[in-house]
Structure formats: structure tokens, C-alpha cells
């Protein structure tokens, strides 16, 4: 209801006013980008909980929407784990690849990166710079510009090198470009001729609005997303769209990106995320 009820009341003269608390909560929920539908559902759920404290009731209601799947990285036991990073343009795939690689290397495992963004100018160089910084080998294409060929090549080489992990960066693409989504499917298909892809991570920019749902839906249908990296969480955006995605598509958020250096990637912490939505 919120502000809207106030002005409607002016015309109809018969609307019951909701307590200001609820209106404020609605505004907060909406501002966190979880979307109007989830907001409505949650407000209803929270109203039924006859709690004195609306805030606490809301934390409960929000937490109940989290996905129950494991948030641990999926690894290929006894073989090479292959992780693909996908997402729309400018959401932070390349940076996330570097951060993930840094983390894996720090854990003592061997990791190789495939520079699969063969489209954007200087994306390969961007990854090479990162690779040099963190001391991880970056496999680049032979100039053919075909990301599937490069990924295939990289999978072969990474396996020959006995690497524990292969991280595949991909070019940013808008999910409504059908040909580009098919290209992505091909990358996965071709890599799987060598070795199974253990994890496909979708980067979602925390500032993204309701369009994030469409992104997750379509990317998931195309390459079967196993987890989400919520990037740029260090800004003022709360990234509520990720909760909407968890709730509707049952895809777990696995990582949170919080800055521009390699250390700025943390495993997702549900509790503090939910509280963050309401502050």
C-alpha cells in the first residue's frame, strides 16, 4: 500500500491506513531490488507472523526465501575441475576470474585460465595482466577469435599440464542475443568433449534491477548455471535481485565480489546479506 494508499484514500475516502512501519518496510524492500512481487509476498508473510518487531519478522521471511542448495564450490573429484564464468557485459567476469584464480592458487591447487573473451577489445590483455599479477598461466587464442576453439584448446592443455582447475572467462553477452547464447552453449559443449564442466558461475552486478531475473533465467536455460557471483557489492546497491533469483530459480549465490583487488572475493554469507537488504 504505502504512499499509494495515501493518495488513493484521498479519492475514495475509504482506505484503511497501514502502519507507517509497513510502508517503510515496503519502501526498503523495493529499494533493495528484490522486486515488487517478492516484496508483496514477503509483506503478507510477515503480517501473518504476529510479531511485535516487523524487522525481525522480515528477516525471517527473507531468509526462508534463500535457496537450500550447497554454496560450496563444485569440484570434480579426482580430475580437473572446470569452471566457466558467464554473464552480461560489464558485470565483472574477467575480474572475478582473476579473483577466483587467486583464491585457488592461494589454497595450493594449480589453476589455469582460458582467456575466452575474444570479442571485447583488450579483454585478453586485461586477463594477462591479472595472470601476471597473481602468477597464473593464461591461455590465449591463436587469433582465430573463436571462443569455443580456444576453450577446447585450453581444456586440452590444462589437462596435459595436470592442472587442478581450469577457469574459462567468456565474453559478456546480453541474454536476449540468441546467436551469442548459442555461441556460449557451443563453448560448453566443446569443452565437454575433453572434460566435464563442473561449475558454471553467472556474474550478476549488485546494481542490476529486475532484469537480473531474465539474465539468470536465460543463462540458466542455456548453460545450466550452478551458482551466482554477486559482483560490486561494495557500493550502495544491496543486490536484492540475487535473492529474487535464489527464490524463484533455486540457484545459490556462491561468491560476493567486494572490490577491485584480487582478495576482494568472499564466500556468500546469507545472514549478513539478508540483514544488509534491510539496512
Amino acid at each position: 500500500m504505502g504512499l499509494f494508499s495515501k493518495f488513493i484514500a484521498k479519492f475514495t475516502g475509504a482506505s484503511a491506513f497501514a502502519p507507517a512501519d509497513w510502508a517503510e518496510l515496503e519502501a526498503e524492500l523495493l529499494a533493495s531490488d528484490i522486486g515488487p512481487r517478492l516484496t508483496r509476498d514477503l509483506l503478507e508473510a510477515a503480517r501473518r507472523v504476529k510479531s511485535e518487531n516487523a524487522q525481525e519478522a522480515m528477516v525471517q521471511a527473507l531468509s526462508s526465501r534463500l535457496c537450500l542448495k550447497s554454496r560450496l564450490p563444485i569440484i570434480n573429484q579426482g580430475g580437473m575441475s572446470v569452471v566457466m564464468l558467464v554473464g552480461v557485459n560489464g558485470t565483472g567476469k574477467t575480474t572475478s576470474v582473476a579473483k577466483l584464480a587467486g583464491r585457488i592458487k592461494a589454497s595450493g591447487a594449480t589453476v589455469v585460465i582460458a582467456a575466452g573473451d575474444t570479442f571485447r577489445a583488450a579483454a585478453v590483455e586485461q586477463l594477462q595482466t591479472w595472470g601476471a599479477r597473481i602468477g597464473v598461466e593464461v591461455i590465449t587464442g591463436k587469433g582465430s577469435g573463436d571462443p569455443a576453439a580456444l576453450a577446447f584448446d585450453a581444456a586440452q592443455r590444462a589437462r596435459a599440464m595436470n592442472a587442478d582447475y581450469l577457469l574459462i572467462d567468456t565474453a559478456g553477452r546480453l541474454h536476449n542475443k540468441r546467436d551469442l547464447m548459442q555461441e556460449l552453449e557451443k563453448v560448453r559443449r566443446v569443452v565437454e568433449k575433453i572434460t566435464p564442466v563442473s561449475e558454471v558461475l553467472l556474474t550478476i552486478d549488485a546494481t542490476t534491477g529486475q532484469n537480473g531475473m531474465a539474465q539468470a533465467k536465460i543463462f540458466s536455460a542455456s548453460v545450466d548455471i550452478t551458482g551466482i557471483i554477486l559482483t560490486k557489492s561494495d557500493g550502495s546497491a544491496k543486490g536484492g535481485i540475487a535473492l529474487a533469483i535464489e527464490s524463484e530459480l533455486d540457484i545459490p549465490i556462491k561468491w560476493i565480489g567486494t572490490g577491485e583487488s584480487t582478495a576482494d572475493l568472499e564466500p556468500f554469507a546469507p545472514e549478513s546479506y539478508i540483514r544488509g537488504l534491510l539496512t
Binding site: G2, L3, F4, F7, I8, F11, T12, A27, L30, A31, S32, D33, G35, P36, R37, V88, N89, G90, T91, G92, F119, R120, A121, A122, A123, E125, Q126, L127, Q128, T129, W130, L174, H175, N176, K177, R178, D205, A206, T207, T208, G209, Q210, N211, G212, A214, Q215, K232, D234, G235, S236, A237, K238, G240, I241, E260
Partner: protein, 477 residues
């Protein structure tokens, strides 16, 4: 873009139109629907509420002074339309050129908003108009942002000032200052300064942006925003406004299926006009933002003005004059002409983009959106696999020629057959048109005297009969 908002709003209006007399309850219900549609489209709550309140108030006043009937719904529609235009910034605003060149444009925005790509697009846009822009690479933060700008500059043949390799090294303020001096020395009349992405809450980087601003004294600071942005657009744009300040907004990634509510929020709250839009991965996918056209688009009235402009630009004078002369002289329309037309069409951009500008209901457009642009390419390949002689005399194309053409274009013989059949039918139709008769199914199309291009386009459309694109074009006329 804006499609979902459009379909929600058009549903609202069609239900209003269905009413004889609009009661206060109807209006309330419509306002409720509008509110939901706007929220679903990422428009900020405060903007939605003030927008809907204003619509309700104005509509109420308008209804009181009106009789029942269609006019009421129309009046409300017009109220919404004019309010949308107002929020989106009134009339289109152009870049203010400096009295003493160079005109300096500085770009600012969050990480990943698309600043560097936009710098390239902006430079190309102004270079095409005869300016001599210099790109200045001040994003020394993101690894290889400088290289990216260099590559973009090289691809459009424009100079890039990049004394620092970047990757976290170098002083962007110094680069900016030197860039201006360099531009003055080399007599560039425009400088486009790319800066590193920064968060609104990062005070340190925001003050760095201010230093760059003070060093280059820009004529325009453009705030670059990802059109997929959600509710945070409010806070972020306010933070940039308070931090470095900006004069105009650029919306990027509008070729996605985003509802683009952030545009409404930012324009409404910061009172800064949206000046440009970026609509694709190619450097030419860029345009001036027209508030009235965008409002029409949001309300499902289509963007015919843009479409017409693109058609005019793509069908260059020579091609259309040649065809016009041909048409008048009674010569036959050949496959050669057909090829010219196809090239012109593909120059205008993707078919789905073009169709998106036509008025019509959103559901139909969605279907049309699946139109395969490869179709034009494949058709071109078939025609290009014919000899010049064959293109002028399609009748000589016998079985063996057909299989050669199929082989040459990598298509099936059946596709070559279909193309030829349709072409010959179209040719026949052309003759009919010329002799004065209106062939069936051509509807109310404008005829030669007023629009010389159209009759030529017509047979081409006819030749595509059966595909959704053609249906859309016809239905719209």
C-alpha cells in the same frame, strides 16, 4: 527495451478504453496497475509514487470537465504521455560546443557501465559529423582499459592520447591535463576523456574525479549508466551529482530486454537530461536520445521518426534515385536492384531493432523479435552467387545453374528456387503497379509521387511473404 513496461501500460490503457465512462474506481485501478508496472520496471519508488499521484490528480481534474466515452481514456493517455516526456527531459538536448575549442567531454560512471566503449562510440559519432575528436585514456585503474581505448581508437582511425600504460600506474589527473594541452597543440576541436569506473560511495575516487574535472574544465560531464540498473540508480546518480556533478546522462546496453526504469528515475530525480543511448556492440550502435520518441516507445506508439531517419540515411541518394529512374522508365526490377535494397536494409541495422520502432502491440513485436537477421545475409549470399548476367535475366537460371548457385552460396537448391519464385512474382507485381493497378494485399501504401522509395521496397517485402517481419510491416501500415 521498455517492452514489458509497454505491454503492461498498453493493457492498462486498453482496459480504460473499453470503459464507456471512467469512474474514480477505474482510475484508481489503472493507477494501481501503472504503479505495479513501473515498479516492475525498476523505476524508483519515490518517482513512481509522485508520477502516479500526478497522473491521478491531473486525470481526475480532466475527467471532471469531460463527457464520457473514448475521449476520456485518450485524455488520460495524453496526460501520461506528456508527463513521461517531461520526466525524460522535455526536448532532446545536444552537446554544447565550446566557444574556444576544444570542446571537452568527460565521462563518469560506475565500473562496467560501458564508459570506454561509449568513448569510442561518441568519438565516432562526432568524427562522422566532421569533428576531430581526441580520446584521452584516463582509466589507469582497470587492467588494460588503456589498451582497449587504443584498439577502439585504431578501429575508427582516431588518435588516442595515452602516455601512461595504466594497470594501476600513473596519475590520471596529469594525463587529463596533458591531454587537453596535446589537443590544443594538435588543434583537435573535441576531447573525450575516459575515466576509471568508481562507486558513488568511494569518496577518495570521487575526489580524484573532481580533480580530473578541474584539470580539464569539461563543457559536458556525461554520467554513463547501465540501463539494466535497479533501484540503486537513485543513490548512485545522486552520489555522482553531489560528487563530480554531471550535465547529461548516457544510457548503455539498451539493446537488452531491460525495462529501463533507471532512466526515468535518474532523469526525474537529478533533473539532468538523457542525451545519448547506446544500443549494441558495434561502434555505430549509438544515437541521440529523444524524450518524445522514447515516451511514444514506452507507451507502445512506436518510434517512427527514428525509423524514417535511419531509412533515409541508409538508402543513400544514389540507390534510391537509380531505382526511381528505373521505375519511371519502365525497366524491370532486377536481382541486382534487389541486392542493393538488401544491402541498404542491412545497413539500417538488425531487423528486430527496426521492427521495435514500429507502433503496435508489444506481444506481436516480441514474436517479431525472433526474426532471424541471418535471413537477409543468406538471401544476399544466394544473389551474390549468381553471375551479373543471371541477376539481370533470372529467367535463364535453369536447373544446373540453380545447383551451381546453391553450391556457391552454401544454401539448398530449394532455397534458391523459393527466392527466384518470389522474385519473379515480385517483378510481376511491380509491372502491375506501374501500369496503375494496385495489386491485392498492398493495402494503403503510398504511391510513387509522394514516396519514391516505397514501391521499390514493396516487392522486396512481398518476396519475403510468410515471414513474421513482413506481416509486422504490413499490419503497421
Amino acid at each position: 527495451m521498455f517492452d514489458s513496461l509497454t505491454s503492461h501500460l498498453s493493457a492498462t490503457f486498453s482496459s480504460l478504453r473499453a470503459r464507456g465512462k471512467i469512474s474514480h474506481n477505474d482510475l484508481d485501478a489503472s493507477c494501481g496497475q501503472m504503479r505495479a508496472a513501473l515498479l516492475e520496471s525498476d523505476v524508483a519508488l519515490e518517482v513512481v509514487d509522485s508520477f502516479v499521484t500526478e497522473i491521478a490528480g491531473k486525470s481526475m481534474a480532466a475527467l471532471a470537465s469531460m463527457q464520457s466515452g473514448r475521449n476520456q481514456a485518450q485524455a488520460i493517455f495524453e496526460i501520461v504521455n506528456s508527463l513521461l516526456i517531461e520526466i525524460l527531459g522535455g526536448s532532446a538536448r545536444r552537446v554544447r560546443f565550446a566557444k574556444n575549442p576544444p570542446t571537452v567531454i568527460m565521462l563518469a560512471g560506475l565500473q562496467g557501465a560501458g564508459k570506454t566503449s561509449l568513448a569510442g562510440k561518441l568519438a565516432k559519432f562526432y568524427a562522422d559529423q566532421g569533428n576531430t575528436p581526441l580520446l584521452v585514456a584516463c582509466d589507469l585503474q582497470r587492467p588494460n582499459a588503456v589498451t582497449q581505448l587504443q584498439l577502439l581508437g585504431a578501429s575508427i582511425g582516431l588518435p588516442v592520447f595515452c602516455p601512461e600504460a595504466g594497470n594501476g600506474v600513473g596519475d590520471p589527473v596529469k594525463v587529463a591535463r596533458d591531454g587537453i594541452a596535446f589537443a590544443k597543440a594538435k588543434q583537435h576541436n573535441m576531447v573525450i576523456v575516459d575515466t576509471a569506473g568508481r562507486l558513488g560511495v568511494d569518496t577518495q575516487l570521487m575526489s580524484q574525479a573532481c580533480e580530473i574535472r578541474d584539470a580539464v574544465r569539461p563543457d559536458e560531464i556525461l554520467f554513463v549508466v547501465d540501463s539494466m540498473m535497479g533501484q540503486d540508480a537513485v543513490r548512485t546518480s545522486q552520489a555522482f551529482l553531489d560528487g563530480v556533478g554531471f550535465d547529461g546522462v548516457v544510457l548503455t546496453k539498451l539493446d537488452g530486454d531491460t525495462r529501463g526504469g533507471a532512466a526515468l528515475s535518474i532523469a526525474s530525480l537529478t533533473k539532468r537530461p538523457i542525451m545519448f543511448i547506446s544500443t549494441g556492440e558495434k561502434l555505430s550502435d549509438f544515437d541521440i536520445f529523444y524524450p518524445d520518441r522514447m515516451a511514444s516507445r514506452i507507451l507502445g506508439m512506436g518510434d517512427v521518426a527514428t525509423l524514417a531517419e535511419q531509412a533515409k540515411a541508409a538508402l543513400d541518394g544514389d540507390t534510391s534515385k537509380k531505382l526511381e529512374a528505373k521505375f519511371a522508365s519502365g525497366e524491370d526490377f532486377t536481382l541486382e536492384d534487389f541486392l542493393d535494397q538488401l544491402s541498404a536494409i542491412s545497413k539500417m541495422g538488425s531487423m528486430s531493432k527496426l521492427l521495435g520502432m514500429l507502433p503496435g502491440n508489444a506481444a506481436m513485436k516480441k514474436q517479431v523479435g525472433n526474426f532471424d537477421d541471418g535471413e537477409i545475409l543468406r538471401t544476399k549470399a544466394i544473389v551474390q552467387s549468381m553471375t551479373p548476367h543471371e541477376r539481370v535475366n533470372p529467367k535463364i537460371i535453369n536447373g544446373s545453374r540453380r545447383s551451381r548457385i546453391a553450391l556457391g552460396s552454401g544454401r539448398r537448391v530449394s532455397e534458391v528456387n523459393t527466392l527466384l519464385e518470389r522474385f519473379i512474382a515480385a517483378q510481376k507485381m511491380m509491372r502491375q503497379v506501374r501500369s496503375g493497378g494496385m495489386p491485392a494485399g498492398m493495402g494503403t501504401m503510398a504511391m510513387p509521387a509522394t514516396a519514391p522509395i516505397r514501391p521499390e521496397l514493396a516487392p522486396k517485402k512481398k518476396s519475403k511473404s510468410g515471414n513474421p517481419a513482413k506481416r509486422a510491416l504490413e499490419e503497421s501500415q
